[in-house]
Amino acid sequence: MTLRRLPLVALAALVVAVVVADRSHPEAVSPPTYGASPIGQSTPALVDSTGVLSTSWFCPGGPTTDGRTTFLTLFNSNDDAREVALSAVTEGGRTGRRTLVLPPRNRSVLSLGSLAVGEDTAATVTVYGAGVAVEQTVAGRSGVDTTPCADATSSTWYLADGSTTSDAALRLVLYNPFPNDAVVDVSLTTVERTVEPPDLQGAVVPGHSVRLFDLAQAAQREQVVSTAVSSRGAELVASRIESADNPSRRGFWSKLAAARPAQTWWFPDGAKGADASEQFVLYNPGDADASVELSFLPAGGTGAPPAGAPAPGAAPTTATTPGSAPASTDQTANSSLVEPVSEVVPAGTFLVVDVNSEKAVANGRHSTVINVVGDQTPVVAERVLTRQVSGRAATTVLLGSQLAVTDWYVIDEVASHGGGNLVIMNSAGLATTAAVKAIGPAGAVDVPGLSSIAIPAGGAADVPIPPSAGGFPLLVQVAQPVVVEWQAPVTLGDNTSHVTSLAFPVVGN
């Protein structure tokens, strides 16, 4: 072999060696996340962000005929006006549109009946910009209820609670705000089985329409029924209109469903005792059993975060007097640690946890954190709380919060006029203080006496809203993430409803 062949032979040998060494080894490429929703929760929230062109609120609505009314409350938290466009549609296909300008730091209340009248009038509120929150209030024949409108649509919706006993009515509202049709499958889970009513399989909710489904026809005389809605095609919004009148459950509820199950749910208010009946309905729509821990935080605080729950921070314990506005955060906290109640929710079923039967839970008021052990079996949790109000049982149903943030808005007019109260839950191990401000033309102004509310670690503060709040929308600002629920009695005719709802958490985008 001549010398000049050597480089070539060496080159060829090198190529052969690399060919043998470099075998196929494709690497797994992570899928792009471009377009994924940055907020992985379904609690309606007020987005405080610049650069937002338009956001929409989807209100499943309620009846606007036969003496029943449905209002929308729109709140602009910004320092400048916001243009909004409302488009309403009824179950019968009537439509109405309106545009209006929300003044800065102001609230507008609009009757959906002025746009379109029907058995159910749903609406989409398109806001050109951010910083606006919308809630709906439905005044039915048997009561009044308020719920935030949905800030996003979803292809799945879940209702953990519902009752179809003979003295109850349960209707599912499905609102499709998109142009194309949605094909929905509804499954109902009772204590015995899961049923898929034929007329609720492949049911079409046409684009830009709202439909009502009487769930009592599909699952009759059930004390508790959980509902799962799955959509093909367009996404939609689901809520329920429910009423009951029996010793264990009495009232009227119009609540948004949960768009997705979650690992953690926060419930600021709760009570155990002779004059209260509290139940948690835990619905597991997944395919695996869910191990759930319910941590009951005494209103006075535990000084430590509940076991297993996400703890925004750790700090010395503090204590406060339930139902009063604490003046200081330096008080010594109740040092007793919370022992969570562990339960297993079988796959595809629901579980009702009766707080009164839980001996580990002390009497009195408390907050509750429901946490799923592991991260593969999220659940949907709703609280059914019955209290004696004016000598009569009043039941409230609340879907827990999936968020704990520092700023919350209470935009409901009734709540801020006085007579209502705020329940501020601090599940962290660090006591903190909250300030309640009224949002008016002058901006955010402290409500007298509510500028420094002590929130115990692992506890809650029940803050009455004084008349001095002036009926303005309220801003609750806390140094660390909390959850805020507001409650207010609303009298409609002879009925007084005890309305409870989560405030609007403020999130950045």
Binding site: R4, L8, A12, E27, Y34, S54, T126, G233
Partner: protein, 1069 residues
């Protein structure tokens, strides 16, 4: 003597002329072309010669005819080629026999230059079809068996003595025959006039007869066939002509079949080509026949009796060749070289025919479904964009309607597409089929031309087999890689041209022939530039591949120690690349910086596939998965590297470097180091495939020449292994042939697009693709998170969309709008995209490997699902998610009310509030730059194309004022409606640039033609000048003495430069 760039032998030729014993001999040298050094040499060696420079090269016959004007008073002309050496008494013998036999034309016995004992020609016979047959057999030894004066039908012009009166009466040589066949034509006319044609064996002339080497641009077989056919059709009377035509037809048919069977494919091609050539020149035949009949003195029958061949000369020629093969004389013939018959193919012809039949069968079987059916849309094989007139107007007009339109340079590929459309008469499917099928065949022919000179037919067949059966072509088709296919077809030709420019053995060609070699090399550079420009119009990186191949070959040459010419090759390849750039003006401007580098590749970088070098080396990148066996095709190359010698080793070495370079680039692209697209992998692997073909050729040639016959050693064993590799390597092609489309299944998403709702009548719209680049069927612009977005006109992506340049500011708005939707900053994306006429948004999803594990849609689908003005369109297939924009505006629309008002605003904030519903389609037209229709009063005409001063709207004869709509589009506010006309006024500079481009191409073609064959009109002009020249005689033998004994410029020729030095011809002068 007609002299044309003679070689080293010419001294001996001159010496033989000077030594002639004929006392009244005067020599007249007719020089073709500018040959000052030849003139000086002649003057030194033949002092009394007359040297006349003719300027151009009109061909031998027309040049020789010049003697009629230049010479007076002589009795005979003895015409000579410049590659003959006459015996001392040759001229005397010829003249004596002419007197003795009263002959008109006489010729000597021609023997081989190097082997005077071997006969070359002793007179020629011919059949009625004009096919010439030698009196002697190929390689026949001169044993004085032909040494008798006898009548023949024709004598070669190498040395031909003719009576001047006869020559004048006949009008000289046929002016329309430059080379090959002029002797037959002259002698046929001489016979018609009643003159005798004799061969005088006592006159002996040595003859090189290697014109094919000196003039490789001439096809001897084709010219012989053409001129023979023309002469045979010119001679007979009308009555006989009819029968002769039928006879010709019969011979065409039978000759084609027999020729193919007997391995004379080249002859068959020439025969059929001559028929077509004559067919288009029928009018000229009439005048020609008139000249023939003017000389007629005897009947056709009498002439036929003199032709010397009863029956077919072709058949007798074939029998002779077979007999010669049996007698073992072919080897000697081959040694002699220059024999016309060896050009036919000789013993290798059968191999050639067999391998080509197999290759064509493989290709036909492999693509049968694509030819018989249609080419599905996949990869780069997109739908055909439009009819040729639309494409041509678009190219000329300068408005590039791709994307959101703009005056950016339109790709030259659009012009080529238009031309292809014209050639195929506007068919939609045929151009695509041709784009797929033709490169396969052209690539095979190209590799054959590349490897054929390196070794025997068997060696070339091995190279051809490797190139055709390597899964490169199959997987390029299977993946729809148009880039790969075009490179597959073109790169062998490019390498061949580089080899010729390099002039490395055996591609010496015309090397060493002085000015002619330089001209041929320049022609090769221009052809290289033309190929690079044409392929680069579709595949911009092709120029880089060409340059890379040149560098690799040069490096290989340095390594193997044969670097002469390699530097020149690289420089001239660079020149070719620059010329190719100019040929693609003005498009190439769009590819230059500051345009991003990915515009060269036509697409943004994608995630690397990481197939691995092993897969790449086996061409395992497509649907033909058994390709792993192909890796053994490298064995012959490796073995050739160690066993080959001479130029076979040199080319094996170059192949190793070339293949390694190609493989390395493909590997870098595969790993993501080189920003590229998987569709370009076949492009980068083509040099590797060519290297394998070269390796197989070198191996077989080396085995035949360097190994066979040696003692048994590892070389033979390695050879056996390499042969096994060759055989095993071709196996993968067999399953690839099964489906008749090389696995090209088509993108099923293309079929889904047909399910999208049709637009309203007269409305046109756009489609916005969003997804990973490997899923989007056309090149896109970078978006975010390794996604791209791409706009396509109407619903299906066409070939127009495969060219992608940097997005305009208007097109960048789309990305901004998508960002707003993705970040949940808007739920009115439809309104934002509406003015861009985006009617559908398509998101391709990864195709699920199985139904059990369905693929999940990308997250962007979630963002689009959240948009209130987008409607999902169910296509029944998870591989494509489609949204219809309910707020879209037709590309050309009339708007009123809120929409018209909204068009005066700009920015997403305004658009998200805008009501874009009040629009109607308007001004429809299939042409992208024109439109007509009626427009109502108080309306706005919206044109969803980027604002440009070239757009003009006239309504009722009034030119409306243009304004900007939505911040980027074009609009006109029309107060008084009426018939409206929309058009784009092309800038004059565009016409200038296109005209310049066309002129450059014409110049390239003319220069190539000129440098290869002489100026296109030069021969015609030269013949015409010769025919009409009134030049005074320079040699009057009827006067008292020679007209002059020194050279004299005549006609267009000039005198020798005082500085010119004589060429060193050697010889015995």
């Amino acid at each position: 003597m007609v002299v044309h760039e003679p070689g080293s032998w010419f001294g001996e030729t001159l010496s033989s002329l000077g030594a002639q014993d004929y006392p009244n001999l005067r020599t007249l040298f007719l020089l073709t072309g500018d040959q000052p050094e030849v003139r000086v040499g002649i003057e030194q060696r033949v002092p009394d010669a007359i040297v006349v420079s003719l300027g151009d090269d009109p061909g031998f016959g027309p040049a020789a005819n010049e003697a009629l004007k230049l010479v007076e008073g002589a009795g005979f002309f003895c015409f000579l080629h410049d590659d003959v050496a006459l015996d001392r008494s040759a001229v005397s013998e010829l003249v004596a026999e002419t007197y003795r036999s009263n002959a008109g034309i006489v010729g000597p016995k021609l023997v081989d230059w190097d082997r005077p004992d071997v006969l070359q020609h002793v007179g020629l016979s011919a059949d009625r079809l004009g096919v010439v047959l030698d009196a002697c057999e190929p390689g026949e030894i001169d044993q004085e068996q032909h040494d008798a004066v006898r009548d023949v039908f024709s004598v070669p012009t190498a040395c031909l003595l003719v009576r001047i009166d006869l020559f004048r009466a006949l009008g000289g040589f046929a002016p329309d025959i430059d080379y090959y066949g002029d002797d037959l034509d002259l002698c046929w006319r001489a016979h018609l006039s009643g003159a005798r044609v004799l061969v005088v064996p006592d006159a002996r002339v040595r003859h090189r007869e290697r014109l094919p080497e000196r003039r490789p641009d001439l096809d001897p077989i084709a010219l012989t066939e053409r001129h023979g056919l023309r002469t045979s059709l010119s001679a007979p009377t009308v009555v006989h002509l009819v029968g002769l035509a039928v006879l010709h037809l019969f011979y065409f048919l039978t000759g084609a079949v027999v020729g193919l069977v007997t391995g004379q494919a080249r002859r068959v091609r020439a025969m059929i080509g001559a028929g077509f050539w004559q067919l288009v020149r029928l009018p000229a035949l009439v005048g020609r026949r008139r000249r023939f009949q003017a000389t007629r003195a005897v009947s056709d029958a009498e002439v036929a009796s003199l032709q010397g061949v009863r029956g077919s000369a072709r058949l007798r020629e074939y029998r002779r060749e077979r007999a010669a093969r049996r007698a073992g004389r072919t080897g000697r013939l081959s040694e002699l070289g220059g024999d016309l018959r060896s050009q036919v193919g000789g013993e290798d012809a059968r191999t050639n025919v067999v391998i080509w039949i197999v290759v064509i069968a493989v290709l036909v079987i492999g693509v049968r479904q694509l030819v018989l059916g249609s080419v599905p849309q996949d990869g780069e094989l997109l739908a055909w964009p439009a009819g040729p007139s639309v494409l041509l107007r678009e190219y000329l007009g300068g408005w590039w309607s791709q994307g959101l339109g703009g005056t950016r340079s339109i790709p030259s590929g659009m012009a080529w597409s238009a031309l292809l459309g014209l050639v195929t008469f506007g068919a939609d499917g045929l151009p695509r089929t041709l784009l797929v099928v033709t490169p396969l065949l052209i690539g095979a022919i190209g590799i054959w031309r590349l490897v054929r000179p390196i070794g025997s037919s068997q060696a070339a067949a091995a190279g051809l087999a490797v190139y055709v059966t390597a899964p490169l072509a199959a997987n390029a088709v299977g993946t729809g890689s148009l880039s790969g296919l075009l490179a597959y077809g073109a790169l062998p030709w490019v390498i061949h041209l580089l080899a010729r420019i390099h002039a490395a053995p055996p591609f010496v060609g015309a090397a060493g022939m002085g000015p002619r070699a330089r001209r041929l090399r320049r022609a090769d550079v221009l052809v290289l530039a033309g190929i690079t420009a044409a392929v680069g119009a579709f595949v911009p990186p092709f120029a880089l591949v060409m340059l890379g191949a040149a560098l690799a070959l040069a490096l290989g040459s340095v390594v193997v120690g044969d670097r002469a010419g390699s530097g020149r090759m690289v420089v001239e390849a660079l020149v070719a690349a620059v010329i190719a750039g100019f040929l693609n003006l003005p498009w190439v401007f769009g590819l230059l910086p500051p345009a991003p580098a990915w515009t060269i590749f036509g697409t943004v970088p994608r995630d690397p596939q990481r197939l691995g070098l092993g897969s790449l080396a086996a061409f395992d990148f497509g649907p033909n998965k058994i390709a792993a066996l192909s890796v053994v095709m490298a064995l012959p190359l490796l073995v050739a590297l160690v066993v080959a010698r001479s130029h076979r080793f040199a080319w094996a070495g170059r192949a190793v470097v070339l293949g390694t370079a190609g493989l390395a680039v493909a590997w870098l692209a595969d790993r993501g180091t080189l920003a590229s697209s998987p569709l370009l992998i076949p492009l980068f692997l083509t040099p590797y495939a060519i290297a394998l073909a070269l390796g197989a050729t070198c191996f077989v040639a080396a085995f035949q020449n360097d190994v066979r016959g040696t003692t048994l050693s590892w070389r033979q064993l390695a050879g056996v292994a390499a042969f096994a590799g060759l055989i095993i390597g071709v196996v993968p092609v067999l399953p690839a042939l099964a489906d008749g489309r090389f696995g090209l299944q088509g993108d099923r998403r293309a079929a889904l697009l047909a399910l999208l709702p049709a637009p309203p009548p007269g409305a046109s719209s756009r489609v916005l693709w969003i997804g990973p680049p490997e899923q989007v069927p056309l090149p896109g612009w970078p978006l975010a998170d390794k996604l791209v977005y791409a706009l396509a006109d109407d619903q299906s992506a066409t070939l127009r969309e495969r060219w992608r340049e940097e997005p305009t500011s208007a097109e960048s708005l789309i990305a901004q709008d998508l960002d707003l939707a993705a970040s949940e900053s808007t739920d009115r994306l439809g309104r934002l995209l509406g003015p861009m006429s985006v009617r559908f948004l398509l998101v391709p999803a990864p195709v699920a490997a199985s139904t059990a594990a369905p693929a999940s849609a990308p997250s962007i689908v979630d963002a689009l699902d959240r948009q209130l003005d987008l409607r999902r369109v169910e296509l029944g297939d998870d591989s494509l998610v489609a949204f219809e924009n309910t707020a879209w505006i037709p590309v050309r629309a009339v708007a009123t009310g809120a929409t018209a008002a909204a068009s005066r605003q700009a920015g997403p904030e305004a658009l998200s509030r805008a009501d874009l519903g009040a629009t109607e389609p308007a001004l429809p037209s299939p042409q992208p730059t024109t439109g007509a229709g009626s427009v109502p009063d108080n309306s706005s005409v919206l044109l969803s194309e980027a604002v440009d001063p070239g757009w003009q709207l006239t309504v009722g004869g009034r030119t409306e004022s243009r304004r900007t709509a939505f911040g980027w589009a074009t609009a006109w506010d029309v107060a008084a409606g009426g018939n409206a006309s929309l058009r784009y006024r092309t800038s004059p500079s565009r016409y200038v640039l296109v005209a310049l481009q066309v002129l450059l191409w014409i110049a390239l073609l003319v220069l190539v033609r000129t440098w290869r064959h002489g100026p296109p009109l030069s021969r015609w002009r030269a013949r015409r000048r010769v025919a009409t020249s009134t030049t005074a005689a320079v040699l009057d033998l009827g006067a008292s003495g020679p007209a002059g004994s020194q050279s004299a410029p005549v006609g267009v020729g000039g005198g020798a430069s005082p500085d010119a030095a004589p060429t060193d011809w050697g010889g015995d002068a």
